[in-house]
């Protein structure tokens, strides 16, 4: 494969060598079904146990509060549908936000069809929910609050601890989709009053197709996947042992290196933002300037459209992402960019560069240089830019 510059870590990450090395024996050496009782299966059982311990430790949970799933979307679906069905008799109201991942939004829309009532909280220009509005939205029928830890597009970090306090005060279950946050931000489920937390391995240099749901002791939710007795009767299906091992190793590595990696990424991120702002006119940083994921750069380039920007970057093998409608096949640009108040034509010109630990300052310089040329080329072609130049 040709050399690429990968700046789409919010989409997925490569599996780190240390992670892959630990996973491999569980494909063909220790392949026993963890539910079996013979010698071979002990290895798989022990491996799952160790991974569970590593995951729990990373977020300050207890081992028996971690349930492995097939990824972030399953964890989100399970948390929401599991609470909704378990607490059907208590209430039918769920509070979430307008900028959640589709795994949350589409699940909530599905529940609306079943008769549940959903409040979608607005966010401010930075993508931050209002704690006041959250508290005001709570009523007797409210059974769940689900607010993401950090946004996948614009990187904004929500006031999770404060949300948790409000939820606890009103005796409402609090779920957070922490898929972007786990491995990148310090998380303490006890201190932050989190009842349910979703995570995914492939966002933190682990494998795809595996994740976990943290369920605080005492919180009862219905299963999503029915079948065998795996995961203490809560999540059926033979465990993805190599994947689970990978998640355990990846999360342990992420948190052992957290401080160092965070410092490096924030420096690189802010350097990139400043470089872009100083070299390209008419750009806008989306999201919060400081309360944002360490590797997240999300900018709007006025007068141009995001997909053409991505295609041009790909010519240099620069891999990034966009909130442009044209990348998703839908007509509306990103719901997140619209929720922070951007007009359609500006939201169409967004670019997300999500940095990872292997990115370097040289790569950032190269990308900014190419970006400057590309933006200029596309603007020269744009009738909107022409109008701007004419002062219309």
């Amino acid at each position: 494969m040709e050399k690429i510059i990968y700046m789409d870590h919010a989409a997925t990450t490569q599996v780190r060598k240390e992670v892959l090395d630990e996973m491999i024996p569980y494909f063909n050496e220790y392949y026993g079904n963890p539910s079996s009782i013979y010698y071979l299966s002990n290895f798989s059982k022990m491996a799952i146990d160790k991974a569970r311990e590593r995951v729990a430790k990373a977020i300050n949970a207890e081992k028996n509060e971690i349930y492995f799933t097939a990824g972030g979307s399953e964890s989100d679906n399970w948390a929401i549908k599991g609470v909704a069905s378990k607490l059907r008799d208590k209430g039918n109201h769920i509070i979430t936000s307008k900028i959640e991942h589709h795994a949350i939004l589409h699940t909530c829309e599905y529940l609306e069809k079943l008769g549940y009532e959903i409040t979608y909280l607005d966010v401010d220009e930075y993508g931050m929910i209002s704690l006041d509005e959250l508290e005001k939205a709570i009523k007797n029928e409210t059974i769940l609050i689900s607010i993401m830890f950090a946004n996948n597009e614009i990187g904004t970090i929500e006031p999770i601890k404060e949300i948790g306090e409000i939820a606890r005060k009103h005796n409402v279950i609090f779920h957070t989709d922490a898929v972007q946050a786990v491995g990148s931000l310090p998380i303490d489920v006890k201190d932050m009053n989190i009842d349910l937390l979703s995570m995914s391995a492939h966002k933190l240099y682990g494998p795809k197709g595996v994740g976990a749901l943290y369920i605080r002791k005492g919180i009862k939710i219905d299963p999503l996947i029915h079948g065998g007795a795996q995961e203490r009767n809560k999540r059926a299906g033979t465990e993805n042992v190599p994947g689970i091992v990978g998640l355990g190793k990846a999360i342990e590595l992420a948190y052992s290196e957290l401080e160092e990696n965070t410092a490096k990424l924030i420096e690189l991120r802010d350097y990139m933002i400043k470089s872009i702002q100083s070299r390209i006119p008419d750009v806008r940083l989306n999201g919060h300037p400081t309360k944002r994921l360490p590797g997240n750069v999300n900018m709007c380039f006025r007068y141009i459209e995001g997909e053409s920007l991505l295609l041009s970057l790909d010519m240099y093998k620069i891999e990034a992402s966009s909130g442009s409608a044209c990348t998703s096949g839908s007509l509306d640009p990103s719901h997140v960019l619209l929720a922070i108040g951007l007009p359609h034509e500006i939201a169409h010109g967004s670019l997300r560069l999500s940095l990872g630990i292997e990115n370097t300052k040289e790569e950032v310089d190269f990308v900014v240089e190419k970006l400057t040329t590309i933006v200029d080329r596309l603007r020269q072609m744009s009738p909107l830019y022409e109008k701007k130049q004419e002062g219309k």
């Binding site: 141009i304 053409s308 044209c326 640009p333 359609h344 072609m381 744009s382």
Partner: protein
């Protein structure tokens, strides 16, 4: 996802720019949907002697504009009127179904520029009338593909 031809016309678009004192100018699309095409025509004795475009939009919108200008340059008004969105898409070796509306925009931009020419000069063009641009729902076309 795109053919080599689309990528070629996106990376090296033909006829980008404006024509001063153009005989016909057509602008279609809107920024809300993420694409705007503006086409400029120079017409002499019923022949399109020069054509330029500016486009705000995705890769296929830019490629479709570029291809459309190539298809009508040097052609008569009547020939240009025969250019359909399908012809633009086919000349690009196809567009993904969700991008077919880009080729529709290109067809519309040509027609609107011709309409502008017709209005300015009083030259009547068979089969062209203003009402066809009332419908903003160009995106509907993708359902046909």
């Amino acid at each position: 996802m795109y053919s080599e031809k689309v990528m070629d016309h996106f990376m090296n678009p033909r006829n980008v720019g404006e024509i001063e004192n153009a005989d016909g100018i057509g602008e279609v699309g809107n920024p809300k949907c993420g694409d705007i095409m503006k086409m400029y025509l120079k017409i002499e004795d019923g022949i399109i002697t020069d054509v330029k475009f500016k486009t705000f939009g995705c890769g296929s919108a830019i490629a479709s504009s570029s291809m459309a200008t190539e298809l009508i340059k040097g052609k008569s008004i009547q020939e240009a009127m025969q250019i359909t969105n399908k012809a633009v898409a086919e000349a690009l070796d196809g567009l993904p179904p969700v991008k077919m509306h880009c080729s529709v925009l290109a067809e519309q931009a040509i027609r609107k520029a011709l309409l502008d020419y017709s209005k300015k000069t009083g030259v009547k063009i068979e089969g062209l009338d203003e009402t066809e641009f009332d419908d903003d729902d160009l995106h509907e076309i993708e359902a046909e593909e």
